[in-house]
Symmetry: C2
Subunit: 223 residues, 2 copies
């Protein structure tokens, strides 16, 4: 695997994160750069989904990835094989990224020549939902083994997401996961959220997801 750049990000000095996030989004708009914030629990399949996403869109858009992790660069090294530009962000124990930390990451990635940057946020259903990163869209992955009741237990995460990918649908026969109940619970938190069942491992459902994402990039970047 390739060596990847590791950036130790610093604690933010800004008290008003919402304002910083709004400023970052305005800059992204000017730069015609779409930023997606991808969140989930640990082990739900963020990295595999990202690999599929890059594979599907790399001939259409110039893609960059920011991998946020407490420690390690396991995921960034995997992603570096995909052809996307990648940077590893070490949060130094912090459980989320805010807008200023995201800005540090973007600067480290040098996104002038990119159309789409995907931030793989820290694996956590609680804290990342509380901080606007400045992203244009929020996506989250809920994997089948986690159970369909998660929207009831982590309400904020589901209410801030534009799209929920229900991943690992290949193992549906082995788990008590009710896809219709999952949709119902997601929509109870967020009636506008798009729910897309996928299997990142086999590629099932990935096209619906990348079509959606592609539409967001075209809309935001004015392509």
């Amino acid at each position: 695997m390739k060596e990847v750049r590791i950036l130790e990000i610093k604690q933010s000095v800004f008290a008003d994160n919402d304002r910083q996030a709004e400023l970052l989004r305005q800059e992204l708009k000017k730069k015609k750069l779409c930023l997606l914030n991808l969140m989930s629990s640990p082990g739900s399949g963020k990295t595999t989904t990202l690999m599929r996403t890059i594979e599907a869109l790399k001939d259409t858009y110039r893609i960059g990835v920011m991998e946020a992790d407490i420690d390690s660069d396991v995921d960034a090294r995997t992603i570096s094989e995909s052809g996307a530009r990648v940077i590893q962000l070490h949060t130094g124990g912090m459980c989320h990224l805010d807008a200023e930390m995201t800005r540090q990451g973007l600067e480290g990635l040098d996104p002038a020549e990119l159309d789409l940057v995907i931030l793989e946020n820290v694996g956590n259903l609680v804290c990342p939902a509380e901080f606007d990163t400045g992203a244009v869209k929020n996506a989250m992955i809920l994997s089948v083994p986690e159970g369909h009741d998660k929207p009831l237990k982590y309400p904020l995460m589901f209410s801030v997401c534009d799209v929920v990918l229900v991943n690992k649908i290949d193992v549906l026969p082995y788990f008590d996961f009710d896809l219709e109940k999952c949709r119902e619970y997601v929509h109870r938190r967020n009636p506008q959220a798009r729910v897309i069942p996928v299997c990142a491992k086999t590629g099932e459902g990935i096209q619906e997801w990348t079509d959606w994402l592609s539409e967001q990039v075209r809309d935001w970047n004015g392509l």
Copy 2:
């Protein structure tokens, strides 16, 4: 399902959590009450494991459960069916419990007649690891679908745990999960940690776990 008591816990006023945790442990020692802090990702099977644990130990020890959740009382209602005394703690958006919050929960549970209290911490591999709850022992559940690389990515969680339950081993054939690598990665973080493969759904491996837990209760309570 039974109605359960819900306690809205308040933000702690103590700056020195380590000191508060030590004080709580000293009180528990005097009261001959063993407190286990159970942590994991969302959806790893904490509640099912708890149900099995209570089933195995309820004739030996008087057991209480504190269910910490951002919102909802889904798990507490399930646990209330087990015969254990249960209280739901609402953290009001907070992503972890510290010692003072744990103390509030214990007071709400009224543990004078109990031998063992299990705290089901917020589903999160990051923040709960950073705060000593005052518990006598820490346990965590890593489920097979999450992947064997988690000790590399969430180092602090694995280094603070006395025991790691590897849950959902019934689905090992459907996932790329290497149990030996998992043990190796856990021990890299924490050479003393006990690793116990279990399936809370079928009961496989649960006896090794409840034997271990029973030994901790006997040791701590001087039984």
